[in-house]
Amino acid sequence: MKHARLWVGFISLSLLFSAACTSKPKEELPNTLRLAQRGKVKGLDPIYADDTYAGEEVSRAYEGLLQFHYLKRPYVLIPALAEAMPEVSKDRLTFTFKIKKGVLFHDDASFKDTGGKGRELTAEDFVYSFKRLADPKLISTGWWLLDGKIAGLNEWRQDAQKKGVADYAAPVSGLKASDRYTLEIKLLSRAPSFLYSLAMPFTSVVAREAVESYGKDFLNHAVGTGPFRLMEFSSNSRLIWAKNPTYRQETYPSEGEQGDKEAGLLADAGQPLPRADRIEVQVYVEDQPMWLTFLSGKLDLSAIPKDNFQQAITPGKELSRDLSEQGVRLVKSPMLDVTHYTFNMSDPVVGKNKYLRQAMSLVYDSGPLIELFYNGRALAAQGPIPPGLSGHDPKFRNPYRQFNIGKAKELMVKAGYPGGQGLPPLTYITTAGSTERQMTEYAVRVFDTIGVKLQIEAFSWPEFQQAVRNRKGQIWSFAWNADYPDAENFLQLFYSKNASPGPNDSNYSNPEYDRLYEKSLGLPDGAERTAVYRQMVNLLVEDCPWIFGVHRIAFGLVQPWVKNYKRSDFHGASKYYRVEREK
């Protein structure tokens, strides 16, 4: 009897495994995009879309008032759910948006009045969504976009804090739906970059019925007006999106930048969006499976992992012959970012000694750094503003970023530490990853050439964040990716009112810089503002609160059957992609 049970167990297991072996993957639609996410998607609520993974997924289902033109560079804002760009008052403080009529939310059970059919979008939905971003109970990571900008919104937030609950019926003077399709936003002061906020996932419009119906579980649902509807969501593993059948009438752009037509990027001009029928997103936290899946043709777009770079790219930085013969395309594009070493300016040693910082900047050679850690995929940064943004001067050469060990040693003498004598080891804080460890070893070697010793303290990511925000450590490495395509997003990193725990983690404070920054906020994009930006960059170059590192260049691989692909630094591009496999 006992043996019989054992055999039954064995046979059951064998059947289970044979069933598993013979089960075939489901048939997929021909126009299905298979995309990778490099990290877990923590949720789909727009007010928490603060990382690239959540931002990208949120933008498939949700939309805001504005968006970036898919093809034009530099980036240009165009209407999304707004009928047109806003009317701006003479004092440039009030923006009036007309909302597109007939736009429907996704069909969802939370729309009880319409029997589960998505209802029409109205201006009130934006008022509600913006208030949600300000609701202190929800602790949105996007509140900084509206903080201190819209008249009456901070007061509404403070009132909610006092009462312990937000009153969504209470009016906000600077946020008004003057009729069903008209939204008025009144700013407290001029802020040209405010419009960029309206193209970010944080400010996407949500339906109150869905938020209230799903409660805490709202972040696992996606009920927007966007091009795709959520079919499946497993944050650790995969997301399935299907074309939204009730999507508004939006078409593929009919103009782009130079070279787009030749690259076939205008072939779908005027065609309805989204171009793909379905998107399957797989989360890959490790490089090898993503790379092998791409090579096997089951992933449509891929970055090139550091360890596979030589396999994919020739020494001349072109695509390898193997991949070229398979029709794979290599897309190179500079990213809107900057890496840097940060000096803690509130530290009595590094913060008070400009010559020491300049000497360290002079000796930190970008050439080997770019080859060693970026496989040549980066440009040496001369200042904080990356190429592609107004304010970046391609001809400018930072005098303290031209490797010169002799001059660095002279500056060490001026600093009062000839050959590093008398200088205590500087506390260098870092995270404990393998790449960070290698970069730290590089920094130790480089700074040692002028007698600057580093004392390394490695932390977990939360501990590192805590140390930086609490102004511990004297030097550390960081990177900043643009939230929106405006140099202001980089220059605010040195504004004294943004000092730690804010984004100015170097705690740089220069009244002249602050004055120029505040002046620039009131200026529209143009020659005058660019001139102010240059003055600000000059101050930073001389004061050296950062050692400017690199602006990275993205190398992406695209399968031959993917059409309309153009890399974007911002979210929401997948509605333009199409898949056309050979029959």
């Binding site: 167990g9 297991l13 289970l16 495994f17 069933a19 598993a20 072996c21 089960s23 993957p25 489901k26 877990k40 923590k42 949720g43 609520d45 928490y48 603060d50 990382d51 202190p136 109970k137 602790i139 990571t141 509140w143 900084w144 903080d147 804090q161 805490k216 579980d217 972040l219 696992n220 499946e232 497993s234 944050s235 650790n236 593993s237 995969r238 797989q282 989360v283 890959y284 936290v285 490790e286 090898q288 499976p289 993503m290 092998l292 899946t293 090579l295 096997s296 932390f459 977990s460 990511w461 939360p462 501990e463 590192f464 964040q465 805590q466 925000r469 900043w480 725990p501 804010g502 984004p503």
Partner: protein
């Protein structure tokens, strides 16, 4: 037996309390502050104060500890600080994929290990024994990561025998995706288990009662199945029961490389983010499973060895 179980359960209270104190100190006094992870790069003093007030981080440490203790004993896990997902939902969603991988792999490993242990105990000292022992040592020496990289590259990518990556929640498709990770689990686990079971069984083979059984003319198969296996079951059972709670935790490496949305990945992400509520939930869950496992082992001992009495 009832009195024994009650006494044993009461004895677990100080153990659990110790676990909770260690976790609390590790992640509240020594570890990083999850506030900065929650708020991202645009944190302001005002926002930080809001978060601290909302989650009670601004309260005295002792008050925080008692609140934490209250939430723990009432199984009020709350929400993840990093993902804001309800922790109960995270565990519920992760448990299925983890167990889909670990349970079949564990069953196969256990059955094979015991059978191989019996086989090499029978052929003790002969070439088959030596080959298996050498194989076990190699299996124990090679890290799991090497098996994963090899399996993914050769068996999945080059030979196309298995999917490279991914997980399908549908049945029975999910088994299609866990075949390769389960195979790697089995290969990695076999080395240690076979050696351990071999040792336990070889010890029994040398006992006087086995010689007696053989002397009275019993065949080798009944000797091994009825006497050697049954008497060698106590250490085997201990090993098996210790492994069972770990099945719930899944395998971080396998889950990461194969895209299985299990508990292993959730736990590691929580540790990396200092996501204290998730870590607390996981440690409590595992501690309780271990305690239950130990209790079950004690009870099972009485079934396989009549000399054992629970008092």
């Amino acid at each position: 037996m009832f009195a024994y179980v009650v006494r044993k359960l009461l004895n677990t209270i100080p153990t659990l309390l110790g676990v909770w104190i260690v976790i609390f100190v590790l992640f509240n006094v020594i570890g990083g502050d999850p506030t900065y992870i929650m708020l991202g790069k645009h944190a302001t003093p005002e926002l930080i104060a809001d978060v601290r007030a909302e989650y009670g981080y601004d309260q005295p440490m002792l008050k925080q500890f008692f609140r934490y203790l209250g939430e723990t004993v009432t199984f009020n896990w709350g929400d993840s600080r990093a993902t804001r997902q309800p922790i109960a939902t995270m565990i519920h969603d992760g448990l299925g994929p983890s167990l889909t991988l670990t349970v079949p792999a564990f069953l196969v490993t256990t059955v094979f290990s015991v059978l191989m242990g019996l086989l090499v105990a029978y052929f003790r000292g002969r070439w088959i024994d030596r080959i298996v022992v050498i194989g076990c040592v190699i299996g124990m020496s090679v890290p799991m990561l090497a098996f994963i990289l090899f399996g993914q590259y050769f068996l999945a990518y080059k030979m196309g025998l298995f999917p490279i990556h991914g997980f399908d929640p549908a049945w029975p498709e999910r088994f299609h995706h866990i075949l390769l990770p389960a195979l790697i689990w089995v290969v990695v686990s076999l080395g240690y288990n076979v050696r351990f079971y071999r040792t336990a069984l070889v010890e029994e083979v040398g006992q006087d009662y086995i010689r007696t059984a053989r002397a009275k003319g019993l065949g080798e198969l009944p000797v091994f199945l009825k006497h050697v296996l049954k008497n060698g079951m106590v250490p085997i059972l201990t090993n098996i029961v210790i492994e069972i709670p770990m099945l719930v935790l899944g395998s971080f490496l396998l889950e990461s490389f194969f895209g299985i949305p299990g508990i292993g990945g959730i736990t590691i992400a929580a540790i990396n983010n200092s996501d204290f509520p998730v870590i607390r939930a996981m440690t409590t869950l595992v501690a309780m499973l271990f305690i239950a496992g130990n209790l079950a082992t004690d009870i099972l001992y009485t079934l396989v060895d009549p000399r054992v009495r629970l008092k």
